[in-house]
Every structure is written in structure tokens, then in C-alpha cells.
Symmetry: C2
Subunit: 482 residues, 2 copies
């Protein structure tokens, strides 16, 4: 492979609620992602790649800081093992003390843009342009709504500092038909930025589209084209968009100087199945849970001339590795004054190395599970409460593993449930407590977990307090510099 | 693509209890099938390909006759919707009135060999060399056992008419370690036959290995090499063997004159999970059931210079199509004096056609379900009896779809459960009975089912009677011509 250029462009394609099983190359039966499948064939596929949380906001904060949500503050202590994110009325957000990837990349001359969903806080001090991005087109939150009341306005859409409209108003989404032009707008924003930047600076483009998050949407030419319904229409439009971006990189002759990575923020939201949810393939449960379906993600790396075509890496990877790897690409080292959870994946990407490292599965402040090598130990199990479950909220529809998919928070810290993810990727058959394999795996994992927990300094929890008064802060100050 | 030669060789690679999700190209996370994945990349992959029954014997009888088991006699009327196969003591087998693929291929000058499992009856009149095969190396049944008593001898292994030994005796299988050389022997038999025949006649080789059927086995060099345990070791050895066969076809310069098809007889036997079962990917349940996991199969077609590389066909395919397609390849037409269920897939393989056709899912004499287009209607649901289930026999471990995975035979003939397999491949969300989509799908499927049932002439059921006296018939006459 060619020599590594000093500072390649970095394009992170972050999907929203897309599942491991949603791409043809990951076995989706309808096989409707020719561009992403080609990207995999021309690059490296990671079957063992993980988000940092089973929910959007914490996972995205982890990507941009290289740190677990428990460190960067994207968690709540309001209840044990409680998932939390950043609704409009959240008081917290990304602390100034956190150093975000685009802030650090500036030191190597990068110009950074975020297109799409930010999700790191709504108040003015959390604006992405205060945290290293040079440009933003998108929204601080998902396209929830429509809200037709003044107390809870529709979610705003920004161009840089300026609020240029709101979902369901200037940016319409037809909930009945699923029609919206947002992915096309996000695509255009990406193409324009790439064209502008490609010849001048190295760029960092963070393309965080949300069409696969319920309510799922697609633009008219894609609506009704998928065998998978509206969710598939959204995937097809994204696949088409990725194809256009990679084509542009080739046309601009910067493909071999652009590192592209595709992944998702958490597993498919099975609660929205079957119409508006993706697939977690053979894995158990989905978004909101710390089973594999909640946190194992599709992941593709592409860098022609550097990453050899047609490879599969069994490296245990994490969304937080994109932080450290991007810094390494830019010739930078991660901050030394804090714990960084992301690994530099370049040895895996360029030399095929396999590095030993744990994957930690948190819900809020609670370490639910840990994977090391092929073994995963569950210290706590929980899907959702009986109360929610009885109301029809099901994160594991059609799946019920006795003693595993529990509807109360079950404590296994004394005797964790351990699965071998190679033989049993679906987490259906816990190892016998009496087996030598169990004892050996437990001992290895326990030692790693102890080390992790002894050194852990939790960040100030940002997701504890909601207050309707702060809800419209970023929105109402749109149009003026903050 | 090149012109079709008059009579290409035909190599059918039929797996035993291998699931849809077992190949890397179908999304198996450990990705341990580089040769089969390459075969897919060089040929055509069918994500919507079905066996003819969720059990071995009927499925194999269907492949070789192009006819549903209900027609060719491979079913029982002993009980409603009862699965049946050919144990050693079975009285029935493939009737002389059935015309098997190798019998018909003789007319076009083919020399045929079966390597591995026959499964079409144990008595002398059912011997494969009485039904068109010119050569046989293998066994009339699976490698069950070991039986160490005279009443029930170990399963015999034949070379042509001669019984050359028995499993666990001359052909050892170490149940503790899983070690057996059988796949290597079957590979050598295939390679030898291909070498002998390639220059003279067109050949039909039916390679029906059984290493992935419990008790799962592999030879020493493969044992312990898979991330998936012993089942994965067996898959790796088969993958390696297929690679060697395709390589030999290239070396002999007959690759572009040999049609190769890879599939499996039924879904993964989840009852043997996790150590000795494969994966049905995102599909519901497994072997023995008429959910997708029981009958949707991996399927790859390969014919360099004729089938274009890198294609995916969404044709609804059936194992019975291999009968009709093979005849078409040989320039023959199927028998006109009987109903043939297999389609000629050449238009799909060579011109990318999609042909409308139903898939029928039977258990014994009962039509459980029918797929047409993307819709599947269940007329009956059943996994296994409460009695078996309470004894720990579970065909859907970790899966429980309320009202769908039932433990009693539930009659939905009046109001079938209908699923859209594109949006809901896992059969977890039945369509609402009130929806227009339900009504439209029901009407289309009902009409096809009525047509099917009105014309159906069931064959004489072969699997009704067991008798220990017949058990050793083929075996005891081994060594002499029958």
C-alpha cells in the first residue's frame, strides 16, 4: 500500500439507529445497498464494531471525545442503569472541558463541518461552532414532532450560527407518506463542502444524517422503491448518497487522500418495527439495550491505495476509536491529561493487526456488560421495565431468552452471565458456571473490569436535569451570534 | 456472456442442516468461508431460495425428482402435519415410478455419481445405483450412532454396490473430539471423479456431505480452527473442499463448462445449538419448522463465462428447480406425464429474469404456508408439541412470537397469518387482517393455493411404516450385487 500522506481528509458517515444487519454485505436479504457493499469490497469491513452506548446522544458524544459517556458526562444518575439522551428541554450538554475531535484537528490545519444531527446539547454554549466545527448544517436534535404549540416548538435547523428554519415548517416532513427532502439537502451540503475544501485544506466532514430514525423519511424518487418498506427507502437514499460522495472524491482526485468510515450510533430501534426499524441481523434485541443488537454496528473503512480492498478485520472496534484514529491520521496524539477510550485503529486498518481491548456496555452510570476477546459477561441484565413492557414497549420483539432478556434490572455482578459470541452471537446460551471456559473467561474479564473501575473518574452527569425554560434557548437566539 | 455449451457438467453441492446465515456472504459474523464467498462474488447469489421441506429425506427426494414430497411419496399420513424422514428401519423409499435426475441425464450421456448421504431409503430396491447413479461413495443415512448392538447396527458406508464399512467402525468418528476424516474422503471421491470424467463425458456430481449435521465433525487440521466452535470447524473444512473443487475445474480447463450450485437441505438445526448448529441469520426458528429459518437456504450458482459475476437474484427459488434446471442444461425437458414443481432457473441465471411462482411449505401431508412474491401466508402454525417442548426440545430457542411459534397445531386456514418478508423477514409482525394489503395478498395466495390443491395427486406415502426387520437389508446384502 502507498505511503500515508501527512493529513488526509476525514469523512465520517454516521447513521442513526441503523442496525448491524441493514447492509447487503452484512446479510440483509433484500440486498439494496450496492454502494455501501462496493465500499466494503474496496475497503475493510469490521463485523465486531461497537457503539459506545445503546442511545444516540451518549454515543455521539463518545465519538467526538474518544471517551465513554460515563467520563464525558453524557449519562444520568437519576436512576440506576437509566438510559438518557438530550431532549429539547435538557439543561446539560457537552462540557467545555471536553476536547472534541474538530477542536483538536484544527491544530493540523483541518476545516471541519457537521452535516445533520448534533445531539450534544441545545443551549447556546453547546453549539457545535463553539466546539471546533467551522460549519454546521443541521439540527441539535432528531426530527421529532410536529409540535404545533408554543411551549414546545418544532426542532430548529441551523446553518452555522443562524437558525434557518424548523422541521415540519421550513423543512417539511410528511408523516403520512414519509416524504422529506432532508437527505438530499444533507447530501448537497456534503458535496458542496467537499468541493470547496478538497483543494485547499484537509477537511473533516461529519455526515450525521437521521433519515433512518423514526419517523423514517425519504425523498420522492426513493419512496416506495425498497422491498423493505419506508425504512428501506431511507437506506436506499443514504446508500445512493454515499455512492455520490465517493464518486465525487474520485472525480476530484482526492479519493486516495480521504479516509472514509461508515458506522451507526446504536442498534436498530426494534420498538419501531416492522415499518420504521432496521435489522440487527442475528443479534439479540436492539436500541436501548446492552445486548449485541443494541450496540454492535455495521462498520466500513475505505481509503483507496492505503487500506487494501476486500478485507475483513475481526478487531474489536469502537466508535470512540474514530476519535483516536482520526487524530493519528492528522499526525496528532490524543490529549494526555485525561483518559481516552478510543484506540488508534491504523495498525488494524493498514497492517491487519488485532489488538486486545475490552468493550464496555453501559446504561447510564451502570456497567452492564463487558466483552473481551470472544467472551461477553453480563453483570446486569435488563431490557425495559415490566410497566413499559406491559404497555407494549418491546425492545426485543419476538425474542425472549429466559433469564437474559429480563424486565427487571437483574444483578449478576457476583456470577455474571457469560456468552461466547463466536459460537453464540445471539446471546442465547450462557456458559455453564461450572465450566473451565467460564472460569477462565470470568477471571480475564474481572481483571480488566477492576482495572477500569479503579481508574474511572466519572464526569459531571449532564443528562440529569430537564427544564422547559431552557428548551428554546438555542432556537430563540438563532439569527444572532451567540 | 458466452454461448451455452451443449451439455455442461453439473456439480451440486448439497449441505446438511446448514442455515441461511452460515456463510460470510450471508452475514455470518465470523466470516470464515472465503471460498464460498468468492464463489458468490464470481457468480450469482440467491437470498430467496428454499428447500422443499424442513427435513432432510423429503428435501433430498424433492431435489432429485423435481417434485414436492407430497407427490413423490416422501411424507407420512400417520399424523397431521407430522415431519418424517428415513431412519434405518423405514420400510419405504424412493418409488421406482419416480424418475430421478441422474436417470434422465443418462439420455444426454451424463455419468453420475453421488458422494455422501443418499437418504432415499435403506432397502435394496432403493439403492442409488438402481435410480440412475453410476457411482456412489457414501451412506444411506446420517452418521447417527454409535450403535453397539446387533439389533441396530452402525450405519453402513458403500462404494457402489459394496458395503465397505460402517460409521464408528471402519469410518471412525470421535464423538468427544469431533474428529473424523469423512469430509476429506468425500472431497477425494469428488476430485477423483471430476478428474476421471472431465475429459470424457459430461458428468453429474451430487456432493452430499453431512459434517454439519449433528454429531458435527471435522478432520484434525480443521478442528479448533473456527471462532464458531466445532460447527464452524466443519463449515471451514467444507469451504476449503469447495475451494479445491473449483480450483480443480479451473486446472482441468472445464470451469466454463461446469455449472456449480451450492445449497442446503433445510435450515440450521437449532435444537443442537450452540455447539453443533448453524445459523439461520435473521430468520425465525429452524429445521423441523415451516418458518423461514426452517426452509430458507443459502444458494450460490457459479458458471464462469455464462453466469455473470457479482449478481444477486431475488427469484424465489427452490431446491426442486435444480432438477429442472439441470435437465435444461443437458438439453432435456422434464417428464410430461407428471406434475413437476421445479422451475428452469436458466432465465434467472443467464438473463436476470424474475419469474412469478409460489413456494409451498409442507409438513408431512399438511400445507402449512405459502409464499407468493413478498407475502407469506401461514395456514397452520406449529413448532413442536408442548410435550416435547417441556422436555427441552426447542426448535426456536430464544425466539417466541406470540400466536406464531405455537406449541400446538393451530388452524389459521380460515384467516391465515400473513407476513411481508421484505419488511419483516423474521416473521414477527403479522399484517392486520383489516388492511388492504392483507386482503390483496390473501386473495392472490388463495387463488394459487386452490389451483395447487385441486390439481394435487398425493403420492403413496413412503414414510408411514417402520419395521426393525428391514433395517439391515441393504447392509446385510452389501458386498454382493443386489
Amino acid at each position: 500500500m502507498g505511503r500515508r500522506p501527512a493529513a488526509p481528509n476525514i469523512l465520517l458517515l454516521l447513521m442513526d439507529d441503523m442496525g448491524w444487519g441493514d447492509l447487503g454485505v452484512y446479510g440483509e436479504p433484500s440486498r439494496e445497498t450496492p454502494n455501501l457493499d462496493r465500499m466494503a469490497a474496496e475497503g475493510m469491513l469490521f463485523p465486531n464494531f461497537y457503539s459506545a452506548n445503546p442511545l444516540c446522544s451518549p454515543s455521539r458524544a463518545a465519538l467526538l471525545t474518544g471517551r465513554l459517556p460515563i467520563r464525558n458526562g453524557f449519562y444520568t444518575t437519576n436512576a440506576h442503569a437509566r438510559n438518557a439522551y438530550t431532549p429539547q428541554e435538557i439543561v446539560g450538554g457537552i462540557p467545555d472541558s471536553e476536547q472534541l475531535l474538530p477542536e483538536l484537528l484544527k491544530k493540523a490545519g483541518y476545516v471541519s463541518k457537521i452535516v445533520g444531527k448534533w445531539h450534544l446539547g441545545h443551549r447556546p454554549q453547546f453549539h457545535p461552532l463553539k466546539h471546533g466545527f467551522d460549519e454546521w448544517f443541521g439540527s441539535p436534535n432528531c426530527h421529532f414532532g410536529p409540535y404545533d404549540n408554543k411551549a414546545r416548538p418544532n426542532i430548529p435547523v441551523y446553518r452555522d450560527w443562524e437558525m434557518v428554519g424548523r422541521y415540519y415548517e421550513e423543512f417539511p416532513i410528511n408523516l403520512k407518506t414519509g416524504e422529506a427532502n432532508l437527505t438530499q439537502i444533507y447530501l448537497q451540503e456534503a458535496l458542496d463542502f467537499i468541493k470547496r475544501q478538497a483543494r485547499h485544506h484537509p477537511f473533516f466532514l461529519y455526515w450525521a444524517v437521521d433519515a433512518t430514525h423514526a419517523p423514517v423519511y425519504a425523498s420522492k424518487p426513493f419512496l416506495g422503491t425498497s422491498q423493505r418498506g419506508r425504512y428501506g427507502d431511507a437506506v436506499r437514499e443514504i446508500d445512493d448518497s454515499v455512492g455520490k460522495m465517493l464518486e465525487l472524491l474520485h472525480d476530484l482526485h482526492v479519493a486516495d487522500n480521504t479516509f472514509v468510515f461508515f458506522t451507526s450510533d446504536n442498534g436498530a430501534a426494534l420498538i419501531s418495527a416492522p415499518e420504521q426499524a432496521g435489522s440487527n441481523g442475528p443479534f439479540l434485541c436492539g436500541k436501548q439495550t446492552t445486548f449485541e443488537g443494541g450496540m454492535r454496528e455495521p462498520a466500513l473503512a475505505w481509503w483507496p491505495g492505503h487500506i487494501a480492498a476486500g478485507q475483513v478485520s475481526h478487531q474489536l472496534g469502537s466508535i470512540m476509536d474514530l476519535f483516536t484514529t482520526s487524530l493519528a491520521l492528522a499526525g496528532l496524539t490524543p490529549p494526555r491529561d485525561r483518559a481516552i477510550d478510543g484506540l488508534n485503529l491504523l495498525p488494524a486498518l493498514l497492517q491487519g493487526w488485532l489488538m486486545d481491548r475490552p468493550v464496555f456496555y453501559y446504561r447510564g452510570d451502570t456497567l452492564m456488560a463487558t466483552t473481551l476477546g470472544q467472551h461477553k459477561a453480563h453483570f446486569w441484565t435488563w431490557t425495559n421495565s415490566w410497566e413499559n413492557f406491559r404497555q407494549g414497549i418491546d425492545f426485543c420483539p419476538g425474542q425472549n431468552v429466559s433469564g437474559v432478556t429480563t424486565h427487571s434490572l437483574e444483578d449478576h455482578t457476583k456470577l455474571p452471565l457469560i456468552f461466547h459470541l463466536g459460537r453464540d452471537p445471539g446471546e442465547r446460551f450462557p456458559l455453564s458456571f461450572a465450566s473451565a471456559e467460564y472460569q477462565e473467561a470470568l477471571s480475564r474479564i474481572t481483571s480488566v473490569v477492576q482495572q477500569h473501575q479503579e481508574a474511572l473518574v466519572p464526569g459531571q452527569p449532564q443528562l440529569n436535569v430537564c427544564n422547559w425554560a431552557v428548551m428554546v434557548k438555542m432556537a430563540e437566539r438563532g439569527g444572532s451570534h451567540l
